[in-house]
Each structure stands twice: as C-alpha cells, then as structure tokens.
C-alpha cells in the first residue's frame, strides 16, 4: 500500500492564554502549500505552537525510548504520564483551550480538535463527516489514510521524519532508527507490521531467556559445587561416619552410666533407709536396756539423781559417754563388766570389799538383759555393716556420677565435632538429585525458548528479505536525493551509500542483514576520496545537523515522489552558521515546492532576531548574492538562486506573526517597533531591491 504522510492545512488555537490573537480570536492560520513560517522572538511561544502541532497529530501517547540510540525498542506506545505541558504555561490551566488541526493524509481530510489541558479528542471529522471523538477513531482514521502499519509507526514517522524539533533524535547516525523508519515507510505495510511484531516477540523471548539464564547459571553453580563437594569429600564423609559411630557409642555409654547411676542411687537410698531403721532399732534396744538397768544404778548410787543415772545407763547401754561424748565401745564394755561382776565402776572394788549391796536383777531380768545384749550386739553389727555399705554405695554413686560427667563431656565434644563435620559435608544425594532436576527443567525451558525464538527468527528473516528488497528498490533515489540536498549547503563532497549491516534483536539472537545508509564525506585531508563517517562524532556539529536533515528530506522525497508531504522544523537557523543560512533556506524551499498539485508543506519557526532565515526560506538569495548580482548590470534575469522565490505579496500570508497573536512579553512591549521593523525586513529584505531605491524605501519605512 502506498504511504501517505500527514499535511497540516489549517491550525486554530482557541482560548489559550498564550495566544490571545487579534480581538481574542486566538490563532487561525491556514498553512498554504510551500513554505509557512512561524515568526517570533524569544518567549512568544514558537516552540509551544510547534508542540501543539505535534501533539495534535500524535495525541497523548509516547514511545518508550531512553536516551541514546533507539536500539531494540519496544514497538508499542504508552499513555503519556504527564500531560501538563500546555496546562502549566497558562494561568487558567488551559481550561477551555483547544487546538483544531485540519489534516490531509492522502485524499483523506481529517479534522481533529483536542483539549489542550489533557490532549483528549473532543471533535473529529473525516472527510467532513463527524465521527466519534475518541483516540481510537482518530488512530483508525490516520492509519487507514496513511497506510502505515501501526500507530507506533505513525508516531515514529512524526518523531523521526516530519517533526524536526529541538528534542529531535538523529536518524542517519542511529542505525536502529534507520531500520525502523525504513521499515515503517518503505516495507510493504503487512511486512512492516509483521517485522515489528516479530522483532518485539524475539526481543521479549530473548529477554525471558536471559532472565532465565541468570537463574539457571546460579543453579548450575550450586549444583556443580554440590557435585564437586560430593565427589571430593569422600574423606570427610568417612570421617563423619566414624565420628557418628563414636557419637552413638558415647551416647550409649552416657545412657548406660546414667542407668548404673540410677541403680547406685537407688542402692544408696535403700542402704540409707536400712541404716536409719537400724538406728531406730538400736535406739529402742537401748531404751529397753535403760529400763532394766536404771534400778541397778539407783540402788548403787541412790543420790546420783536422774541425770547421773541417765548418763550411766546410757553408757552401759552402749550409747556412749554423755559426759565427754566418747562413743568408743570399750567404755560401755567396761561398765558392763562392772555391773555384771558387781565391781564398783569408780574404784574397781570387788563386791567383797564393798559395803553396799546393789539390787540384783531377777532371773527374768537377767534373761531379758542377755537377750537385749545379743540384740544390741546384733544391731550394732548390722549398723556398722550398713554404715560401711552406705559409705561404699555413696562412693560408688559419686564414682559413677563423675564417670557420667566425664562421659557426657566426651559426648558433647564428639557431637560438636560431628556437627562441624556435618557442616562441611556435601549435600545428600537426594538434594543433588533435586538440584539436577531443577537445572534440567530450566535447560529444557531454555531450549524451548531458543527453539521458539529461532522459529520466529526464520519468519523474521523472510519478512526482512521482503523489506530489504523494498528498501533497495528506492535506495538509489534516496542516494541521489541526498547528494542533491547535501550539495545545497555542504562545501565538501557528501554522499551516502547502502551497506548491509548486521543487526541482532537481542543478546542471544541470530544476526540479520539490514540495509542501512552510511555517509561519506571528503575533508581537508581526504580531498578527493570521500571517507565513510559512520558515527556522528566523525563530523563537525553543524555538518551532523545538515547531513541528518538532508537525509530526512531525501527519504521523504524518495518515498513520497510527487505525493505531498510535510516537514516541521524548529528554528533551523539555530544551529547554522550565517553563511549556510541561505543555502539551508534554499534547500528547504526547494522541498517546499515539491508535492505535486496538493504541494508539500514546510513549516519552520524562526526567530526575528536572526532575520536572514525567513528570506532564505522564501527562496530569496542571500545579501551577498544580491550584491554580486546588482553589481553585474549585464544580467537581465533575477539572481539565479531566487528564481523560485515566493512573490512578495504572498509572503505575508505565509507567515504566522506571533507578534500579532501571542501574548506580549516584556521584551515585546519594550521593543515592539524594533521587532516589527525586523519583521518587515524579513518579509522584504533591503538587499533584494535595487540600491537606487533603497534610500527612498528606508525613508518611507521611517515615516511609516
């Protein structure tokens, strides 16, 4: 399908504080075929008006592009996050401001009215017929009329080709930008759409692949480390196993000792209980003995009193000496013998020499005493044995207790050693197996992605071949147009050639041959043979701008042929040396004369402070050329370079003079006359008139 580019035929800006217009009517500018100039001085809103034109066409959407080359961009648009550009420039927030633009795209007339506060479509007509005022309707209309494949491509053409604004991006110097613009304009529409879709898809697959690969690589590292550890650490495993065995043995030993300890504890408790019982039994025997003996001592020492008697009975009964605390059995045995033989316990006198007769025990008492003696001896013996046994069981208990402490300390050491070894152990086999599965799954997914991407690449290659053929078909025309354009204002020989560059649509994708234009330029060093300049840094700053402009014009001219097109340029004089202004103006004026019956539109903003540009845009020769021409009286014709110039009476209609329609800033209020004089000189420069008339004209102007 043939591509048609939009042409602005009329612009109306209403109720926008920046442009009150004459009698408050705002701006109403009919853009005639050929050159149209937006003239003004700094701060009157030239850039804002150009942006109104751009946004009227582009709507509130933008591409997703970072700084630098376009690269592998996402070929979709997104809604603008910030639509405050026009609101923020006026006091009322552009509440009721609208921009109405009449477009011609091919044979389709589209009139779109947008609110400046949010750029919403509020009115839309196609070929004079009102349709739904929506962005979707507008997009459908421009795509249908232009033959471009997508709204992204329309945006691309506006940005990279039609609007040459201050924030422009390079085209010739950005290879991916070239690819995109050639695709959008020159590839058959279906191919352009398919290539964009495939490129997006391949980029997305590549991105997914890379993300997955990062994760896969991490997992591979983990797996490899695990496998390496598993293979290399056989010694550690062996040591771990032996330590584990030791730890188990240590635990068993501790448990065994604990068991013995519990038994020993039970034993000592048992013995102690027996001993306590034996003590009580002994106490009972003693008390029985006490009962039987106290009569004897009472009769022996009638005045000894109960304490003395208690002491003697206690001693005789085997409890020990309450006087001195001696519990030696010898003391009680002696007293016992004394009592039995009737010997005085104090002086050892036998009964024959005593004059007292202690009470004798009855036979029954004697027998009972004898029994008690036996019982006491037995109880004493038992108690001694139990005391020894308790000592032994206590010793055994404490021995085992110490053993348990030692064994437990050993166990703790071994278990700590085991824990440390465990930390340096390779992961268990099932963990490695799980990791292998993860890695294998990821690899399978990666391979699937690769296969999918490769399939898409096959299709892309086919589509690119179609596109390349289309580009090559117009390459020569582009080249010749460029040569002519460049020659208009470059002193050096400048040409472009087509090269088949490699392009990748992602890190891992295949390479694709893309036809691209690259510039060759002679220089002071290479005077005869133009040298390739592939990077913008290889040419001077002003050369870079001209070459890029010439290339854009060449593409439009080559692609559009005699079909009308448009270019909107922001202050072309800004980046030009004054010597090149006339040349650039002529180049643009020549473009403006193209476009067949409907005619091209060249809209340029220009600063009245640099008055040479506007005459140049109208096709007038420069002052130097006129001076030369006036000096040469033999020539009858106009200066050759001014042959196609816009006639004087038409020039005023082709200028939108912001001095008339824009809100006046302080500079304008203070210097309005001076700026108006500059405006008149821009319209009709002095140098274009015969020197003889200039003095009179000057006088008339002064009077006026």
């Amino acid at each position: 399908m043939t591509v048609h580019l939009p042409i602005i035929r009329r612009v109306q800006v209403s109720d926008y504080g920046l442009y009150p217009g004459k009698k408050g009517k705002g701006i109403d500018w009919t853009v005639k075929k050929g050159v149209g100039v937006i003239a003004g001085v700094n701060g009157l809103g030239k850039t804002t008006l150009l942006n109104i034109l751009f946004r009227a066409l582009a709507g509130p959407k933008d591409w997703r592009i970072d700084e630098g080359p376009l690269g592998n961009l996402d070929r979709t648009l997104r809604k603008m996050r910030d639509t405050s550009y026009f609101r923020s420039r006026v006091l009322d927030g552009a509440a009721g401001a609208t921009a109405r633009v009449e477009l011609l795209i091919g044979a389709t007339k589209i009139t779109v009215v947008r609110r400046l506060r949010d750029l919403r479509v509020v009115e839309l007509s196609i070929d004079g017929r009102q349709v739904g005022a929506t962005e979707e309707e507008y997009t459908a209309a421009i795509l249908s009329a232009s033959g471009l494949a997508s709204e992204f491509d329309f945006h691309l053409v506006l940005r990279l080709l039609i609007f040459y604004l201050e924030d422009r991006r390079p085209l010739l110097w950005d290879r991916s930008a070239q690819d995109e613009i050639l695709r959008a304009l020159i590839y058959p529409t279906e191919t352009a759409a398919r290539v964009a879709e495939l490129a997006n898809k391949i980029q997305s697959l590549d991105s997914e692949y890379r993300n997955q690969r990062v994760y896969l690589n991490r997992q591979v590292v983990v797996l490899e480390e695990a496998e390496a550890a598993s293979a290399a650490d056989a010694a550690t495993v062996s040591q771990f196993k032996s330590t584990k065995t030791r730890a188990r043995a240590a635990r068993e030993r501790v448990a065994s000792i604990a068991e013995s300890l519990a038994l020993a504890d039970a034993e000592r408790v048992n013995v102690r209980s027996s001993l306590e019982r034996a003590k009580l039994r002994h106490e009972e025997i003693r008390r029985a003995h006490h009962d039987l003996r106290q009569r004897f001592f009472s009769s022996l020492y009638p005045q000894i009193g109960e304490v003395g008697r208690y002491v003697l009975v206690s001693l005789e009964g085997g409890a020990g000496c309450l006087v001195c605390g001696n519990v030696d059995a010898g003391a009680s045995a002696r007293l016992e013998r004394c009592v039995a033989d009737g010997i005085c316990p104090l002086c050892d006198a036998p009964p024959a020499r005593q004059d007292v007769r202690p009470a004798k025990s009855t036979a029954a008492e004697g027998r009972r005493l004898a029994e008690l003696e036996d019982e006491r001896a037995e109880a004493d013996d038992e108690r001694r044995k139990l005391e020894a046994s308790l000592q032994a069981s206590r010793d055994r208990y404490y021995e085992l207790y110490e053993e348990q402490l030692t064994a437990d300390a050993e166990r703790i050491d071994i278990e700590r050693e085991l824990e440390l070894l465990g930390q340096s152990l390779p992961p268990p086999d099932d963990e490695i197996e799980a990791l292998r599965k993860v890695v294998n799954d990821l690899r399978r997914k990666q391979n699937a992605l690769i296969r999918k991407r490769e399939l898409e690449e096959v299709t892309l290659r086919e589509q690119l071949a179609i596109g390349r053929k289309a580009v090559m078909a117009v390459a020569e025309t582009i080249k010749s147009q460029f040569r002519r354009n460049a020659a208009a204002f470059l002193a050096e020989d400048c040409e472009i050639t087509v090269v088949q560059d490699d392009r990748k649509f992602g890190d891992q994708t295949g390479t694709f041959k893309m036809p691209r234009f690259t510039v060759k330029l002679t220089s002071g060093v290479f005077k005869l043979q133009p040298q390739p300049r592939r990077a913008s840094t290889e040419v001077s700053e002003s050369q870079k701008e001209f070459i890029d402009l010439a290339f854009r014009l060449a593409i439009i001219q080559a692609v559009m042929g005699r079909r009308p097109s448009m270019m909107v340029i922001e202050t072309p004089e800004a980046s030009l040396d004054s010597i090149f202004i006339a040349r650039a103006g002529r180049l643009l004026a020549r473009f403006a004369t193209g476009g067949g019956a409907v005619g091209n539109r060249l809209i340029a903003s220009s600063n009245l402070n640099k008055e040479d540009m506007i005459p140049a845009l109208f096709g007038l020769a420069s002052e130097e050329e006129y001076v030369e021409w006036w000096a040469d009286r033999r020539r009858k014709t106009q200066p050759p370079s001014s042959s196609g110039a816009v006639p004087l009476d038409e020039r005023r209609d082709r200028i939108l003079n912001l001095l008339d329609v824009a809100a006046e800033n302080r500079a304008v209020v203070e210097n309005k006359q001076g700026y108006l004089l500059r405006y008149r000189r821009a319209l009709d420069p002095e140098w274009s008139h015969p020197p003889s008339e200039r003095a009179a004209r000057f006088r008339r102007r002064e009077v006026g």
Binding site: D291, Q294, V307
Partner: protein, 219 residues
C-alpha cells in the same frame, strides 16, 4: 555420733539451742523430747519458706513420729553440758519399751545464746524458731502432738505407704522434694488475695495442720 565433735556438730547443737530457746520463749518448756523431735522436723521442712537452709533433710516416718537418734544424742549432751536441762526421765511401755524426757534451757544457756546469736545465720534461725514455736503454742494443746502427722512431707505417699512401719523420707538431702514448702506456698492462693510474709506463712501453715488434725480426728 563421732568421737570428736566437728564444726557441723557444734553448729547442730547451736541450732538446737535456738530451737529450745524458741520453745522457752513460747512458754512451752520443759518440752517433751517427742515435741522437740517433731518441731525440729517442721523447722527443717519450713526453713525454705522462711528463706533459711535445711539443717536435716531426712526424716523417718515411724510409729512414734519423727525421731532422730543424732538429735537425741545432742540434746542429751547439751543437758550434761549445762546448756539444756533434762527432767522427768522415765521409762514407758509404748509399743515396746520407750522413754519420756523433758528438756528446757540449762543454767549455762543464757550466756551461750548471747554469744551464739551474735552469729547472723543462727540469729536468723533463732527468729524463725521463735516464730515456729509461737505458732505451735497458739494451737490447741490437744492437737499439737499430732499436727506433724498431717504435714505434707511427712504424710506424703510418694516415699512409701502411710501404713508402712518405717519410711525414710528424703526431702532435702539427696532429693529436692519438700512438699511442706510447696504446700505452705500454695495456701497463699487460698487466702483471697491476701499477701502473707514468711512469718505469717508459718502461722497459717501450722493452723492448717491443726485444722486437718481436728478433721482427721472428727472423722
């Protein structure tokens, strides 16, 4: 009962003197030896409630109640030394031949106690013993002799059946199983939120024992 008394023996006798003094201050002396053995046990079982260490953590549940031959030996020794006074010694037939004796402070006790109570730990034990005997004295005389049978440690069934003739109970020697202390602390929860200090706790516990004794007798 070793040949030469060691430091622990001296301490034990000092401790016993503070017990006797507690009884004397409560107007309970001369006190039957059985009561001294009972109170000595209660003093040990309740010592943690008063923040004091346990002197003897072992008691034998016996037909005649708590009785310690070692304590009896010390009592007798103190008596011969003049620190305690032994009176009313007599033999009785009570499930076999047994004896009765009463003890009170001896003529040398005041000067001994003057010096002994200069030792902080003994002074603290002394205060506790005074409180214990004060609580004991406040009980009905007919119940005093039997309250120990209701004590949580002495009557525990963990160490042996209550009908067993001789059960050795270790509540603070090799084991830490002082049910008396736990029971006295638990009683606080039944006082309707009233906070009790250690002194009051001793009184509350002994009254509790007396009430249980009365209930046991009534049933």
């Amino acid at each position: 009962m070793s040949d030469a008394p060691n430091e622990a023996d001296h301490w034990a006798r000092g401790w016993l003197m503070t017990l006797l003094d507690g009884a004397a201050r409560a107007g309970l002396t001369p006190l039957p030896h059985t009561a001294i053995h009972h109170l000595a046990f209660l003093a040990n079982a309740l010592a943690p409630a008063y923040g004091l260490p346990v002197e003897t953590g072992l008691v034998t549940r016996w037909k005649r109640g708590p009785y310690s031959p070692e304590l009896q030996w010390d009592l007798d020794r103190l008596s011969i030394m003049g620190l305690a006074r032994l009176t009313s010694v007599e033999s009785v037939s009570d499930r076999g031949k047994w004896f009765l004796a009463r003890y009170s402070l001896g003529p040398l006790a005041p000067s001994f106690l003057d010096q002994a109570l200069a030792v902080g730990s003994l002074a603290r034990a002394h205060r506790f013993h005074c409180e214990l005997f004060a609580a004991y004295a406040s009980l009905a005389p007919t119940l005093r002799g039997a309250v120990v049978d209701q004590d949580a440690t002495y009557a525990n069934t963990v160490d042996g059946d209550l009908y067993e003739s001789e059960t050795v109970i270790d509540f603070a020697e090799w084991k830490d199983r002082n049910f008396t202390d736990r029971a006295s602390a638990t009683l606080e929860g039944h006082l309707g939120g009233i906070k009790v200090d250690p002194r009051q706790r001793v009184h509350v516990y002994l009254r509790y024992l007396a009430r249980r004794t009365a209930q046991a007798r009534a049933s």
